[in-house]
Symmetry: C2
Subunit: 237 residues, 2 copies
């Protein structure tokens, strides 16, 4: 079996481990209800999220110096709140809304799967999220990480090589002893380039019912699974 030497699993987090879209919409809807606001929260959230990739790519290309994801999101949040007539919210409320990424809920199979996998492997996120976001999210959702590796530690965003190579080095392992697990083919393509093993877990509703990308594995990844239970079974955990 080609994954026999794997000792550690690194997980993409947003979309792969946690269901960010439903979590953010649900959280904002509850906030709106409490405040008596009438807003199309789905549309607001989807627009907010569009800032993520360009914000990171501006750092990757050198157009922007290192900027945390919290700050990327906060800048865009201020824009969309203004657009939706919500710019009068108190600063404290804006901080609360922006921290929604710290309280995302795991997919229903994630905690049980990770708990199984942790018995046999070192498990870590390898996410573009900030350390504090990943720590608080783990506390919130019960994610049993052994260690938290992410972009902020390496001052580079995925798919920059520094993130994958940095994780392998920090774990003190060889590339083929680490498996990148993600619901996104681009992430696995980058990981494979550096000699890592690859595991694809399908999350076909990450972006909602109309999702058109990453519906399935686009290459012969080392493991392909429908959820973390199947992933654990295929990895002998």
């Amino acid at each position: 079996m080609s994954v026999a030497g794997v000792k550690a699993l690194t997980f993409d987090t947003f979309g792969t481990v946690v269901d960010w879209r439903s979590s953010v919409i649900e959280d904002f809807r509850a906030f709106g209800k409490k405040q008596g606001l009438k807003v199309d929260w789905e549309a607001l959230v989807d627009e907010w999220k569009t800032a993520y990739r360009p914000g990171m790519d501006a750092v990757r290309s050198g157009k922007q110096p290192w900027t945390t994801v919290d700050r990327i999101y906060r800048a865009k949040l201020d824009e969309v709140l203004a657009e939706y007539g919500l710019d009068e919210l108190a600063e404290e409320e804006k901080v609360h809304l922006n921290r929604v990424w710290h309280r995302l809920n795991p997919w229903s199979d994630a905690v049980a799967g990770l708990t199984r996998l942790k018995r046999k492997y070192i498990i870590s996120p390898l996410s573009n999220g900030d350390v504090s976001c990943l720590v608080n999210m783990a506390k919130h959702g019960g994610l049993p990480w052994d260690v938290i590796l992410c972009a902020e530690i390496f001052r580079h965003y995925k798919p920059d090589p520094e993130v994958y190579l940095g994780a392998i080095a920090c774990l003190g392992l060889r590339p083929h002893e680490v498996m990148m697990v993600a619901a996104h083919n681009y992430d696995l393509r980058a990981a494979r380039t550096h000699g890592m093993k690859t595991g694809f877990v399908a999350r076909p509703t990450e972006y909602g019912p109309g999702q058109k990308t990453n519906l399935k594995a686009e290459e012969d990844w080392d493991v392909i699974a429908g959820d973390f239970g199947e992933l654990a079974a295929k990895l002998g955990a």
Copy 2:
């Protein structure tokens, strides 16, 4: 209570959480027995350990570029093995011996105390040990860290300011919301300089029965405890 705002605890690890000296001596003694070697393991280990602080200080002063603790120890291990007539050991055996720092045992009160503290606080090492060492040690000893912060992440060894300031920033907290916990007064002095809260836990046999330093708190640290159970109690966990 002056520690009311604390949200995260960062722990010195070697000596504070794990009993490195007894663990290394016991491990080497077992190795020696299996190999039929007659060696004064206590003396060998005590000499080996003398390389730790100078190795890190050479990095801190700029005399050496960034060097992991694993490499600092390996260089000195080769020296002491030669001195004790053990340089004929196989490379695989030397690697095994050098990795003893990855399989240190916690003090008997550490796991229960950390488990209590984890319910109320974010808990992390803030150690000069390497990431892989701390991860493997946590797996070995059952240390329930939420996140692993250490010198390797910040490319600086304690007591360099970058380590304490880096941890505070990664946790997304203000200095007084983070408490440094250590059995070493120098570490708490540095942490206090940066506005962190401080917790002293006495480990009067860390260096064996003849220990002469750090037998007690040398300043009015915010919490002073005899073990992690007392620390948890004083922190309301």
